[in-house]
């Protein structure tokens, strides 16, 4: 990036000297770019629009929002939602409780192992969930198989690749070693160093890790259905035979809800960056 800045700083007057051929070419590029973006938009938005139209349609051809407003009252939805919510909570706690200390530890003590960890944490992506659940149902003891929280234990494995990458990126961005050494030399114990120094500095990475974990748990169908527990996605399929409009409405709400949450987090992130640059300007002024 440094080279780019220097290039612009040294030759700022180069711009008007450009040959017309280049501007022509750029205009061609811009036109082509617009076509790509419009086609992409159509491919991704039309199915959403179609599903929305289907959800608000009625048998008589009229329009009604009852598919959306009646979601909470549908038979079985409350139980499915509560199970999914509990699984999301437990999975998040297990995942963060396991991965935050481990990732911090690797960064501090075994930076040479980061490459190995990149490899280990990608394994859950490449073992298909449908294969994993076959093994899980065979080897797990009965007391675990009889509780839905076995799913939470396995979802933590599935979430590992995303969570590790978020945390790894977050840790790379801060001067972890100095922070920890400062805290330790001021007499902080390991637990309080982790909780009061590392975690606040990792906020962004933790947030995105949490959102990805929650999105994964709320959307996971394969393992839940093969383990015969009715989470929201399994319920959607089950309920489809009774009222397809409601099933589609729930699917849409889930998709849009996750997107909005991610957008909020990324703008929250942006505000923080802006604030920190403002602060820096204030102190140098």
């Amino acid at each position: 990036m440094v080279t780019v800045v220097e290039f612009d700083a040294i030759f700022p007057q180069e711009q008007p000297l450009r040959r017309p051929a280049i501007t022509d070419r750029l205009r061609g590029v811009a036109w082509w770019r617009g076509v790509v973006l419009v086609l992409t938009g159509v491919f991704f938005l039309v199915p959403i629009y179609a599903a929305f139209r289907f959800a608000i349609g009625t048998v008589t051809g009229g329009l009604s929002d009852s598919a959306f407003t009646s979601i909470p009252h549908q038979q079985g939805f409350g139980d499915a939602f509560s199970l999914s919510a509990r699984l999301a909570l437990v999975t998040t706690i297990i995942t963060l409780g396991l991965m935050v200390p481990t990732t911090v530890f690797v960064h501090l003590r075994f930076p040479g192992l980061r490459r190995v960890f990149d490899g280990i944490t990608i394994i859950p992506i490449v073992i298909p969930p449908v294969v994993l659940i076959v093994g899980v149902l065979q080897v797990m003891p009965t007391f675990l198989k009889s509780t839905p929280y076995l799913l939470a234990l396995e979802y933590s494995v599935l979430a590992m690749p995303f969570v590790y990458r978020s945390l790894d990126a977050g840790l790379r961005a801060i001067d972890l070693k100095t922070l920890v050494e400062a805290s330790r030399s001021l007499g902080g114990r390991w637990a309080s160093t982790l909780w009061r120094v590392v975690v606040p500095n990792l906020r962004t990475g933790l947030l995105s890790a949490t959102v990805l974990t929650v999105a994964l748990v709320l959307g996971e169908y394969t393992m839940a259905s093969l383990d015969s527990y009715q989470t929201v996605p399994v319920w959607i399929v089950f309920f489809d035979s009774q009222n397809a409009h409601v099933s589609v409405a729930v699917s849409l709400v889930a998709l849009m809800g996750t997107w909005v949450i991610l957008l909020l987090i990324s703008s929250f992130d942006l505000r923080r960056i802006r604030r920190s640059t403002l602060l820096r300007k204030d102190t140098t002024a």
């Binding site: 590029v29 298909p128 399929v237």
Partner: protein, 277 residues
């Protein structure tokens, strides 16, 4: 070394909930239901409908990794070179959501749009071309491939964006300064630099398509012969006596295929990381 103890919880957890089940699948693939060692599961899994399942799965994974992979590169490049941060933010968050979207809700979206009475189908019908009269259907191989693009393209955008951002504008300016045309820049500068990252991304998409289960299952009601769906049917109890462990042999087959892909992927990543620094 005492400090290595800090890694123990992670190691134990990963072994219990990832290693052990995976081992059980691998070992079970070579066992008869009574516990003796046998090759018959492997032999069954590599013949007849199961061989056909592997073929369909591989074909689907190839198509839905290469086409959406290349589309993802083009789209990511269009987004990156666009001015203004709002579009980038929308695309990056949307990619995160859509890449993890799948299964039944995704199938519903496409059935509403392109099913037999879907909205887009009706638009075409109004134009006088009913796609279903011309051999199109959302419920077969081509339909599943189209639907897979809905999560594969965003996945590629997520993977390839950092590599595209690593292409320094100075390189392009230098090429243009020496009179290179756009295609020459991509042929001699951008392409070779991006190649390992693009191939790595395509391989990741390949693995993701190979292991997808819920989407195809929901869309075709399990009627398409994909290995993942066949494995699922073993768990659902649709199984002949004496063949209980064939599902594990199929699982082993998928693991072997993906393992080969991952070895290639890591070799390519090593090459790609030379440039992304």
């Amino acid at each position: 070394m005492l400090s290595a103890l800090g890694l123990a919880p992670f190691a134990v957890y990963t072994f219990l909930f990832l290693g052990l089940p995976a081992l059980a699948v691998v070992i079970g693939a070579f066992q008869s239901p009574s516990g003796g060692w046998t090759w018959s599961n492997i032999s069954l899994a590599t013949h007849g409908i199961y061989l056909h399942g592997f073929e369909t799965t591989l074909r689907l994974a190839l198509v839905t990794s290469i086409v959406p992979g290349l589309a993802g590169v083009v789209i990511a490049n269009a987004v990156i070179t666009m001015k203004g941060g709002a579009l980038k933010r929308i695309v990056s968050t949307a990619s995160g959501v859509f890449a993890n979207f799948g299964g039944v809700p995704l199938a519903f979206l496409f059935i509403s749009a392109l099913g037999t009475v879907g909205i887009v189908t009706n638009w075409f019908n109004d134009l006088g071309i009913n796609p279903y009269n011309h051999g199109f259907t959302i419920f077969n191989f081509d339909g599943v491939a189209l639907v897979y693009a809905y999560f594969q393209i965003p996945l590629m955008i997520l993977v390839i964006t950092p590599a595209l951002e690593g292409l320094r504008p100075a390189w392009r300016e230098a090429a243009e300064g020496m009179g290179a045309r756009s295609w020459q820049y991509w042929r001699y500068v951008g392409g070779p630099v991006l190649f390992p990252a693009v191939l790595g991304g395509v391989l990741l998409l390949f693995g993701s398509a190979l292991s997808a289960y819920a989407t195809a299952d929901a869309l075709t009601n399990g009627s398409i012969a994909l290995t993942s769906i066949q494995i699922g049917s073993f768990l659902n109890g649709n199984v002949l006596a004496g063949q209980q462990n064939v599902g594990k042999a199929l699982g082993l087959g998928l693991i072997v295929i993906i393992a080969v892909v991952m070895v290639i992927y890591s070799l390519l990543q090593k090459r790609a990381s030379r440039w992304s620094r």
